[in-house]
Amino acid sequence: MSFQLDYFSLKGKTALVTGARTGIGQAISVGLAAAGAHLILVGHQDNMQETQNKITELQGTYETFLIDLSDVENLKANLQPILDKYSIDILVNNAGVIYREPAADHNVNEWNRVMDVNINSVFTLCQTIGNQMIEKKSGKIINIASLLSFQGGINVPSYTASKHAIAGLTKALANEWASHGVQVNAIAPGYISTNNTEALRNDEVRNQSILERIPAGRWGQADDLAGAAVFLASRASDYVSGHVLVVDGGWMGR
Protein backbone atom coordinates (compact mmCIF):
# COMPACT_ATOMS: atom_id res chain seq x y z
CA MET A 1 0.00 0.00 0.00
CA SER A 2 1.53 3.33 -0.98
CA PHE A 3 1.41 6.60 0.92
CA GLN A 4 -0.69 8.15 -1.80
CA LEU A 5 -3.38 5.59 -1.19
CA ASP A 6 -3.00 5.22 2.50
CA TYR A 7 -1.07 7.68 4.64
CA PHE A 8 -2.37 10.98 3.33
CA SER A 9 -5.72 9.66 2.14
CA LEU A 10 -8.92 11.05 3.66
CA LYS A 11 -11.25 8.61 1.92
CA GLY A 12 -14.30 7.83 4.04
CA LYS A 13 -13.66 10.83 6.32
CA THR A 14 -16.05 13.70 6.90
CA ALA A 15 -14.48 17.15 7.24
CA LEU A 16 -16.17 20.31 8.45
CA VAL A 17 -14.63 23.62 7.33
CA THR A 18 -15.88 26.96 8.59
CA GLY A 19 -15.56 30.02 6.38
CA ALA A 20 -15.44 27.77 3.34
CA ARG A 21 -16.78 30.35 0.90
CA THR A 22 -13.55 32.04 -0.18
CA GLY A 23 -9.81 32.28 0.28
CA ILE A 24 -8.05 29.96 2.69
CA GLY A 25 -11.25 28.14 3.71
CA GLN A 26 -12.07 27.42 0.12
CA ALA A 27 -8.56 26.19 -0.71
CA ILE A 28 -8.49 23.92 2.34
CA SER A 29 -11.96 22.54 1.55
CA VAL A 30 -10.96 21.75 -2.01
CA GLY A 31 -7.66 20.24 -0.80
CA LEU A 32 -9.39 17.94 1.69
CA ALA A 33 -11.98 16.95 -0.94
CA ALA A 34 -9.19 16.13 -3.37
CA ALA A 35 -7.71 13.81 -0.73
CA GLY A 36 -11.05 12.01 -0.58
CA ALA A 37 -13.00 13.61 2.28
CA HIS A 38 -16.72 14.43 2.24
CA LEU A 39 -17.01 18.15 3.00
CA ILE A 40 -19.37 19.97 5.33
CA LEU A 41 -19.09 23.55 4.14
CA VAL A 42 -20.05 26.11 6.76
CA GLY A 43 -20.53 29.78 5.98
CA HIS A 44 -22.96 32.53 6.78
CA GLN A 45 -23.63 33.86 3.29
CA ASP A 46 -25.69 31.91 0.82
CA ASN A 47 -23.14 31.99 -1.98
CA MET A 48 -20.91 28.96 -1.54
CA GLN A 49 -21.22 28.29 -5.28
CA GLU A 50 -17.55 28.69 -6.17
CA THR A 51 -16.31 26.25 -3.52
CA GLN A 52 -19.08 23.79 -4.41
CA ASN A 53 -18.19 23.92 -8.09
CA LYS A 54 -14.51 23.29 -7.41
CA ILE A 55 -15.36 20.23 -5.31
CA THR A 56 -17.74 18.93 -7.96
CA GLU A 57 -15.02 19.28 -10.59
CA LEU A 58 -12.92 16.85 -8.52
CA GLN A 59 -15.86 14.45 -8.26
CA GLY A 60 -15.94 15.29 -4.58
CA THR A 61 -19.01 15.48 -2.36
CA TYR A 62 -20.24 18.16 0.03
CA GLU A 63 -23.17 19.50 1.98
CA THR A 64 -23.55 23.16 2.89
CA PHE A 65 -24.84 24.59 6.18
CA LEU A 66 -25.41 28.31 6.77
CA ILE A 67 -24.48 29.24 10.32
CA ASP A 68 -23.70 32.64 11.82
CA LEU A 69 -20.61 32.02 13.95
CA SER A 70 -20.86 35.43 15.61
CA ASP A 71 -23.99 34.14 17.37
CA VAL A 72 -22.03 32.18 19.96
CA GLU A 73 -24.97 31.84 22.31
CA ASN A 74 -26.98 29.78 19.84
CA LEU A 75 -24.04 28.07 18.16
CA LYS A 76 -24.45 24.71 19.88
CA ALA A 77 -28.10 24.55 18.88
CA ASN A 78 -27.28 25.68 15.35
CA LEU A 79 -24.70 22.89 15.01
CA GLN A 80 -27.18 20.23 16.09
CA PRO A 81 -28.56 19.49 12.59
CA ILE A 82 -24.97 18.70 11.49
CA LEU A 83 -24.29 16.48 14.50
CA ASP A 84 -27.59 14.65 14.02
CA LYS A 85 -26.62 13.71 10.50
CA TYR A 86 -22.83 13.34 10.61
CA SER A 87 -19.96 12.06 12.69
CA ILE A 88 -17.20 14.58 12.02
CA ASP A 89 -13.64 13.24 11.64
CA ILE A 90 -11.90 16.50 10.74
CA LEU A 91 -12.77 19.98 11.98
CA VAL A 92 -11.10 23.00 10.39
CA ASN A 93 -11.81 26.24 12.25
CA ASN A 94 -10.94 28.69 9.54
CA ALA A 95 -13.62 31.39 9.67
CA GLY A 96 -12.23 34.66 10.92
CA VAL A 97 -12.76 38.39 10.72
CA ILE A 98 -10.37 41.30 11.03
CA TYR A 99 -11.08 44.85 12.12
CA ARG A 100 -8.56 47.65 11.63
CA GLU A 101 -8.50 50.64 13.97
CA PRO A 102 -5.65 52.01 16.11
CA ALA A 103 -5.63 50.48 19.59
CA ALA A 104 -6.26 53.82 21.31
CA ASP A 105 -9.60 54.15 19.52
CA HIS A 106 -10.37 50.47 18.85
CA ASN A 107 -14.15 50.11 18.93
CA VAL A 108 -15.29 47.83 21.73
CA ASN A 109 -18.23 46.42 19.80
CA GLU A 110 -15.88 45.45 17.01
CA TRP A 111 -13.47 43.98 19.58
CA ASN A 112 -16.31 41.78 20.84
CA ARG A 113 -17.36 40.75 17.35
CA VAL A 114 -13.79 39.76 16.44
CA MET A 115 -13.38 37.78 19.66
CA ASP A 116 -16.76 36.07 19.13
CA VAL A 117 -16.04 34.89 15.60
CA ASN A 118 -12.30 34.24 15.91
CA ILE A 119 -12.03 32.53 19.29
CA ASN A 120 -15.29 32.15 21.26
CA SER A 121 -17.07 30.30 18.47
CA VAL A 122 -13.95 28.21 17.86
CA PHE A 123 -13.98 27.03 21.47
CA THR A 124 -17.64 26.03 21.17
CA LEU A 125 -17.00 24.23 17.89
CA CYS A 126 -14.00 22.38 19.37
CA GLN A 127 -15.97 21.43 22.45
CA THR A 128 -19.10 20.30 20.65
CA ILE A 129 -17.43 18.34 17.90
CA GLY A 130 -14.48 17.34 20.09
CA ASN A 131 -16.89 15.48 22.34
CA GLN A 132 -17.99 13.38 19.36
CA MET A 133 -14.34 12.70 18.51
CA ILE A 134 -13.34 11.75 22.06
CA GLU A 135 -16.20 9.29 22.15
CA LYS A 136 -14.96 7.50 19.05
CA LYS A 137 -11.31 7.96 20.09
CA SER A 138 -10.35 9.51 16.78
CA GLY A 139 -10.37 12.98 15.33
CA LYS A 140 -8.35 15.82 13.85
CA ILE A 141 -8.90 19.47 14.69
CA ILE A 142 -7.09 22.18 12.76
CA ASN A 143 -7.43 25.75 13.96
CA ILE A 144 -6.32 28.53 11.68
CA ALA A 145 -3.94 30.71 13.66
CA SER A 146 -1.91 33.57 12.20
CA LEU A 147 1.50 35.24 12.28
CA LEU A 148 -0.31 37.39 14.83
CA SER A 149 -0.43 34.33 17.09
CA PHE A 150 3.27 35.21 17.59
CA GLN A 151 3.55 38.91 16.77
CA GLY A 152 1.53 42.01 17.57
CA GLY A 153 0.57 43.49 14.21
CA ILE A 154 -0.47 47.14 13.81
CA ASN A 155 -3.98 48.56 14.30
CA VAL A 156 -5.48 45.08 14.78
CA PRO A 157 -5.33 44.46 18.56
CA SER A 158 -8.57 42.45 18.62
CA TYR A 159 -7.39 40.19 15.83
CA THR A 160 -3.99 39.70 17.51
CA ALA A 161 -5.59 38.87 20.86
CA SER A 162 -7.96 36.38 19.24
CA LYS A 163 -5.18 34.66 17.29
CA HIS A 164 -2.88 34.39 20.32
CA ALA A 165 -5.86 32.81 22.04
CA ILE A 166 -6.14 30.30 19.18
CA ALA A 167 -2.55 29.16 19.74
CA GLY A 168 -3.16 28.82 23.48
CA LEU A 169 -6.45 26.98 23.06
CA THR A 170 -4.86 24.59 20.57
CA LYS A 171 -2.19 23.57 23.10
CA ALA A 172 -4.67 23.40 25.97
CA LEU A 173 -6.98 21.05 24.07
CA ALA A 174 -4.05 18.96 22.84
CA ASN A 175 -2.85 18.42 26.41
CA GLU A 176 -6.24 17.00 27.36
CA TRP A 177 -7.24 15.20 24.19
CA ALA A 178 -4.04 13.75 22.64
CA SER A 179 -4.27 10.61 24.75
CA HIS A 180 -7.86 10.14 23.52
CA GLY A 181 -6.74 9.86 19.91
CA VAL A 182 -7.78 13.40 19.02
CA GLN A 183 -5.02 15.57 17.55
CA VAL A 184 -5.51 19.32 17.90
CA ASN A 185 -3.12 21.50 15.90
CA ALA A 186 -3.07 24.85 14.14
CA ILE A 187 -1.82 26.31 10.89
CA ALA A 188 -0.43 29.83 10.97
CA PRO A 189 -0.61 31.27 7.47
CA GLY A 190 1.78 34.05 6.59
CA TYR A 191 0.80 36.95 4.37
CA ILE A 192 -1.67 35.29 2.03
CA SER A 193 -3.34 36.99 -0.87
CA THR A 194 -7.01 36.94 0.27
CA ASN A 195 -9.88 39.36 1.02
CA ASN A 196 -8.58 39.87 4.58
CA THR A 197 -5.28 41.25 3.30
CA GLU A 198 -6.57 43.26 0.35
CA ALA A 199 -6.21 46.54 2.25
CA LEU A 200 -2.53 45.78 2.85
CA ARG A 201 -1.80 44.91 -0.75
CA ASN A 202 -3.53 48.09 -1.92
CA ASP A 203 -1.29 50.18 0.37
CA GLU A 204 1.84 50.56 -1.74
CA VAL A 205 4.19 51.25 1.17
CA ARG A 206 2.90 48.43 3.39
CA ASN A 207 2.85 46.04 0.45
CA GLN A 208 6.48 46.74 -0.35
CA SER A 209 7.68 46.46 3.24
CA ILE A 210 5.84 43.16 3.68
CA LEU A 211 7.14 41.73 0.44
CA GLU A 212 10.70 42.75 1.27
CA ARG A 213 10.55 40.74 4.48
CA ILE A 214 9.23 37.49 2.99
CA PRO A 215 12.24 35.27 2.19
CA ALA A 216 10.21 33.43 -0.47
CA GLY A 217 9.84 36.77 -2.26
CA ARG A 218 6.11 36.47 -2.88
CA TRP A 219 2.76 36.67 -1.10
CA GLY A 220 1.35 33.26 -0.29
CA GLN A 221 -1.60 31.90 -2.21
CA ALA A 222 -4.50 30.18 -0.46
CA ASP A 223 -3.52 26.97 -2.26
CA ASP A 224 -0.16 27.03 -0.45
CA LEU A 225 -2.05 25.91 2.68
CA ALA A 226 -3.73 22.83 1.23
CA GLY A 227 -0.73 20.53 1.79
CA ALA A 228 -0.36 21.47 5.45
CA ALA A 229 -4.09 20.95 5.98
CA VAL A 230 -4.08 17.49 4.41
CA PHE A 231 -0.98 16.57 6.46
CA LEU A 232 -2.63 17.62 9.74
CA ALA A 233 -5.96 16.02 8.76
CA SER A 234 -4.41 12.65 7.92
CA ARG A 235 -2.77 9.72 9.67
CA ALA A 236 0.58 11.18 8.58
CA SER A 237 0.44 13.51 11.62
CA ASP A 238 -0.78 11.12 14.31
CA TYR A 239 2.08 12.02 16.71
CA VAL A 240 1.79 15.78 16.07
CA SER A 241 -0.26 17.51 18.78
CA GLY A 242 -0.57 21.07 20.04
CA HIS A 243 1.64 22.32 17.23
CA VAL A 244 1.26 25.55 15.30
CA LEU A 245 2.52 24.86 11.79
CA VAL A 246 3.68 28.06 10.14
CA VAL A 247 3.24 28.41 6.37
CA ASP A 248 4.69 31.85 5.74
CA GLY A 249 7.39 31.76 3.09
CA GLY A 250 9.94 32.12 5.89
CA TRP A 251 8.61 35.38 7.44
CA MET A 252 8.98 34.34 11.09
CA GLY A 253 12.67 33.51 10.72
CA ARG A 254 13.57 36.83 9.14
Binding site: Q4, F8, K171, N175, A178, S241
Partner: protein, 251 residues
Protein backbone atom coordinates in the same frame (compact mmCIF):
# COMPACT_ATOMS: atom_id res chain seq x y z
CA UNK B 1 -4.02 16.39 -4.28
CA UNK B 2 -2.19 13.15 -3.70
CA UNK B 3 0.21 14.44 -6.31
CA UNK B 4 1.26 17.07 -3.76
CA UNK B 5 2.99 14.42 -1.66
CA UNK B 6 4.28 12.30 -4.50
CA UNK B 7 8.08 11.98 -4.67
CA UNK B 8 8.31 9.70 -7.70
CA UNK B 9 11.49 10.36 -9.64
CA UNK B 10 13.08 12.51 -6.93
CA UNK B 11 16.50 11.61 -5.51
CA UNK B 12 16.85 11.77 -1.74
CA UNK B 13 19.81 11.48 0.63
CA UNK B 14 19.33 10.48 4.26
CA UNK B 15 22.30 10.65 6.60
CA UNK B 16 22.22 8.10 9.39
CA UNK B 17 19.75 6.20 7.23
CA UNK B 18 20.74 2.68 8.23
CA UNK B 19 18.93 2.56 11.58
CA UNK B 20 16.66 4.34 14.04
CA UNK B 21 14.73 7.38 12.87
CA UNK B 22 16.87 7.70 9.74
CA UNK B 23 15.95 4.25 8.51
CA UNK B 24 12.23 4.90 8.95
CA UNK B 25 12.61 8.27 7.22
CA UNK B 26 14.39 6.60 4.30
CA UNK B 27 11.65 3.95 4.05
CA UNK B 28 8.97 6.66 4.12
CA UNK B 29 10.62 8.60 1.30
CA UNK B 30 10.99 5.40 -0.75
CA UNK B 31 7.36 4.53 -0.15
CA UNK B 32 6.41 7.99 -1.42
CA UNK B 33 8.38 7.19 -4.58
CA UNK B 34 11.86 8.69 -4.10
CA UNK B 35 15.15 7.02 -4.95
CA UNK B 36 17.24 7.01 -1.78
CA UNK B 37 20.91 7.07 -0.83
CA UNK B 38 21.55 6.25 2.80
CA UNK B 39 24.75 7.42 4.43
CA UNK B 40 26.05 5.55 7.44
CA UNK B 41 29.38 4.64 8.95
CA UNK B 42 28.96 1.05 7.75
CA UNK B 43 27.37 -0.09 4.52
CA UNK B 44 23.85 -1.45 4.97
CA UNK B 45 22.91 -3.77 2.11
CA UNK B 46 19.94 -5.13 4.08
CA UNK B 47 18.35 -1.66 4.31
CA UNK B 48 18.96 -1.19 0.58
CA UNK B 49 16.95 -4.35 -0.02
CA UNK B 50 14.07 -3.04 2.10
CA UNK B 51 14.12 0.25 0.20
CA UNK B 52 14.16 -1.50 -3.18
CA UNK B 53 10.92 -3.29 -2.30
CA UNK B 54 9.15 -0.01 -3.06
CA UNK B 55 10.39 -0.19 -6.64
CA UNK B 56 12.88 2.65 -6.25
CA UNK B 57 16.63 2.86 -6.72
CA UNK B 58 18.56 2.65 -3.46
CA UNK B 59 22.23 2.84 -2.53
CA UNK B 60 24.14 2.61 0.72
CA UNK B 61 27.31 4.63 1.16
CA UNK B 62 29.74 4.10 4.01
CA UNK B 63 30.84 7.53 5.15
CA UNK B 64 31.43 9.35 8.42
CA UNK B 65 29.73 12.74 8.05
CA UNK B 66 32.08 14.12 10.71
CA UNK B 67 34.69 13.98 7.97
CA UNK B 68 33.80 17.43 6.73
CA UNK B 69 36.67 17.95 4.33
CA UNK B 70 35.32 15.03 2.26
CA UNK B 71 31.76 16.31 1.83
CA UNK B 72 32.37 17.44 -1.76
CA UNK B 73 33.66 13.97 -2.52
CA UNK B 74 30.53 12.47 -0.96
CA UNK B 75 28.34 14.64 -3.21
CA UNK B 76 30.27 13.44 -6.27
CA UNK B 77 29.83 9.79 -5.29
CA UNK B 78 26.09 10.22 -4.77
CA UNK B 79 25.65 12.10 -8.04
CA UNK B 80 27.47 9.29 -9.85
CA UNK B 81 25.40 6.55 -8.22
CA UNK B 82 21.99 8.18 -7.94
CA UNK B 83 22.00 11.45 -9.90
CA UNK B 84 21.29 15.05 -8.89
CA UNK B 85 20.06 15.34 -5.32
CA UNK B 86 16.57 16.84 -4.86
CA UNK B 87 16.06 16.07 -1.17
CA UNK B 88 18.61 16.11 1.64
CA UNK B 89 17.63 14.84 5.08
CA UNK B 90 20.29 15.60 7.69
CA UNK B 91 19.32 13.03 10.27
CA UNK B 92 22.62 11.64 11.56
CA UNK B 93 23.44 12.79 15.05
CA UNK B 94 25.38 11.73 18.12
CA UNK B 95 24.87 12.05 21.82
CA UNK B 96 27.16 12.26 24.86
CA UNK B 97 25.84 12.43 28.42
CA UNK B 98 27.81 14.03 31.27
CA UNK B 99 26.93 16.58 33.93
CA UNK B 100 27.78 20.01 32.50
CA UNK B 101 30.32 20.76 35.24
CA UNK B 102 32.57 17.94 34.07
CA UNK B 103 31.61 17.69 30.39
CA UNK B 104 34.82 16.71 28.58
CA UNK B 105 35.97 19.15 25.93
CA UNK B 106 36.68 16.28 23.61
CA UNK B 107 33.04 15.05 23.78
CA UNK B 108 31.76 18.59 23.34
CA UNK B 109 33.82 18.98 20.17
CA UNK B 110 32.72 15.59 18.87
CA UNK B 111 29.00 16.34 19.32
CA UNK B 112 29.26 19.85 17.87
CA UNK B 113 31.26 18.59 14.90
CA UNK B 114 28.78 15.87 13.87
CA UNK B 115 25.48 17.50 14.88
CA UNK B 116 26.11 21.10 13.86
CA UNK B 117 29.29 21.68 11.83
CA UNK B 118 28.79 18.68 9.55
CA UNK B 119 25.12 19.50 9.02
CA UNK B 120 25.94 23.07 8.03
CA UNK B 121 28.62 21.85 5.64
CA UNK B 122 26.26 19.28 4.09
CA UNK B 123 23.62 21.99 3.60
CA UNK B 124 26.26 24.12 1.93
CA UNK B 125 27.70 21.36 -0.23
CA UNK B 126 24.38 19.88 -1.36
CA UNK B 127 22.58 23.24 -1.37
CA UNK B 128 24.89 24.74 -3.99
CA UNK B 129 23.76 22.54 -6.91
CA UNK B 130 20.15 22.89 -5.68
CA UNK B 131 20.48 26.68 -5.94
CA UNK B 132 21.94 26.34 -9.43
CA UNK B 133 18.96 24.24 -10.54
CA UNK B 134 16.45 26.39 -8.65
CA UNK B 135 15.00 23.40 -6.82
CA UNK B 136 15.66 21.54 -3.60
CA UNK B 137 14.26 20.42 -0.28
CA UNK B 138 16.46 20.24 2.80
CA UNK B 139 15.09 18.74 6.00
CA UNK B 140 17.29 19.00 9.07
CA UNK B 141 16.51 16.88 12.08
CA UNK B 142 16.41 19.21 15.06
CA UNK B 143 15.17 18.16 18.50
CA UNK B 144 13.06 19.18 21.46
CA UNK B 145 16.44 20.36 22.70
CA UNK B 146 16.37 23.00 19.96
CA UNK B 147 13.80 24.61 22.28
CA UNK B 148 14.73 23.30 25.72
CA UNK B 149 17.93 22.63 27.64
CA UNK B 150 17.69 18.93 28.42
CA UNK B 151 19.58 17.40 31.31
CA UNK B 152 23.29 16.46 31.28
CA UNK B 153 23.39 16.86 27.49
CA UNK B 154 24.62 20.45 27.03
CA UNK B 155 26.53 19.74 23.82
CA UNK B 156 23.54 18.05 22.22
CA UNK B 157 21.25 20.95 23.21
CA UNK B 158 23.77 23.48 21.87
CA UNK B 159 24.18 21.61 18.59
CA UNK B 160 20.43 21.17 18.05
CA UNK B 161 19.79 24.80 18.89
CA UNK B 162 22.35 25.69 16.26
CA UNK B 163 20.66 23.49 13.66
CA UNK B 164 17.30 25.16 14.14
CA UNK B 165 18.83 28.63 13.96
CA UNK B 166 21.00 28.17 10.88
CA UNK B 167 18.04 26.50 9.17
CA UNK B 168 16.33 29.90 9.39
CA UNK B 169 19.49 31.63 8.14
CA UNK B 170 19.66 29.38 5.09
CA UNK B 171 15.91 29.78 4.46
CA UNK B 172 16.25 33.56 4.51
CA UNK B 173 18.88 33.36 1.77
CA UNK B 174 17.56 30.46 -0.29
CA UNK B 175 13.75 30.63 -0.12
CA UNK B 176 13.44 32.96 -3.09
CA UNK B 177 15.66 30.61 -5.12
CA UNK B 178 13.37 27.59 -4.96
CA UNK B 179 15.18 25.79 -2.17
CA UNK B 180 13.18 25.01 0.99
CA UNK B 181 15.15 24.54 4.22
CA UNK B 182 13.18 23.33 7.24
CA UNK B 183 13.49 21.11 10.31
CA UNK B 184 11.61 18.36 12.02
CA UNK B 185 11.96 18.17 15.80
CA UNK B 186 11.31 14.67 17.08
CA UNK B 187 10.04 14.35 20.60
CA UNK B 188 10.98 11.49 22.91
CA UNK B 189 11.40 8.59 20.53
CA UNK B 190 11.88 4.94 21.40
CA UNK B 191 15.22 4.57 19.60
CA UNK B 192 18.70 3.34 20.44
CA UNK B 193 19.86 6.86 21.25
CA UNK B 194 17.32 7.04 24.08
CA UNK B 195 17.91 3.58 25.52
CA UNK B 196 19.59 5.06 28.58
CA UNK B 197 16.44 7.10 29.28
CA UNK B 198 14.00 4.29 28.58
CA UNK B 199 15.84 1.99 30.99
CA UNK B 200 16.01 4.61 33.74
CA UNK B 201 12.74 3.90 35.53
CA UNK B 202 12.36 7.33 37.07
CA UNK B 203 13.25 9.35 33.97
CA UNK B 204 11.15 7.08 31.78
CA UNK B 205 8.07 7.62 33.98
CA UNK B 206 8.66 11.37 34.23
CA UNK B 207 8.93 11.67 30.47
CA UNK B 208 5.86 9.58 29.75
CA UNK B 209 3.78 11.55 32.23
CA UNK B 210 4.54 14.73 30.34
CA UNK B 211 3.68 13.48 26.84
CA UNK B 212 0.02 14.40 26.16
CA UNK B 213 -0.22 11.58 23.59
CA UNK B 214 0.62 9.14 26.40
CA UNK B 215 3.27 7.21 24.48
CA UNK B 216 6.86 7.49 23.24
CA UNK B 217 7.17 8.28 19.54
CA UNK B 218 8.46 5.88 16.91
CA UNK B 219 10.44 6.26 13.71
CA UNK B 220 7.24 5.76 11.75
CA UNK B 221 5.79 8.88 13.35
CA UNK B 222 8.47 10.90 11.53
CA UNK B 223 7.53 9.79 8.04
CA UNK B 224 4.51 11.99 7.38
CA UNK B 225 6.20 15.24 8.36
CA UNK B 226 9.38 14.46 6.41
CA UNK B 227 7.42 13.55 3.27
CA UNK B 228 5.43 16.77 3.71
CA UNK B 229 8.62 18.85 3.91
CA UNK B 230 10.27 16.91 1.06
CA UNK B 231 7.31 17.36 -1.29
CA UNK B 232 5.62 20.22 -3.10
CA UNK B 233 2.92 20.16 -0.38
CA UNK B 234 5.25 22.44 1.62
CA UNK B 235 6.47 24.81 -1.10
CA UNK B 236 5.60 27.93 0.96
CA UNK B 237 7.08 26.54 4.20
CA UNK B 238 10.56 27.95 4.86
CA UNK B 239 12.82 28.09 7.91
CA UNK B 240 10.26 26.26 10.04
CA UNK B 241 10.59 23.47 12.57
CA UNK B 242 7.76 20.95 12.80
CA UNK B 243 7.62 19.30 16.22
CA UNK B 244 6.60 15.63 16.18
CA UNK B 245 6.40 15.24 19.90
CA UNK B 246 2.95 13.98 20.90
CA UNK B 247 2.28 17.45 22.28
CA UNK B 248 5.32 17.67 24.64
CA UNK B 249 6.24 21.29 23.89
CA UNK B 250 2.77 22.59 24.72
CA UNK B 251 2.67 20.91 28.09
Amino acid sequence: MHQLFNLTGKNAVVTGGSRGLGKEIALGLAEAGANVAIISRKESPEVVKELEQFGVKAVSIAFDIGNISMHKELLNIIEENLGKVDILVNNAGVQKRHPAVEFPQEDWNYVMNVNANAVFSLCQTFGKPMLERGYGKIVNVASLLSFQGGFTVPAYAASKGAVMQFTKSLANEWASKGVNVNCVAPGYMATEMNEALIHDEVRSRQILERIPAGRWGTGKDMQGAVIFLASSASDYVHGFTIAIDGGWLGR
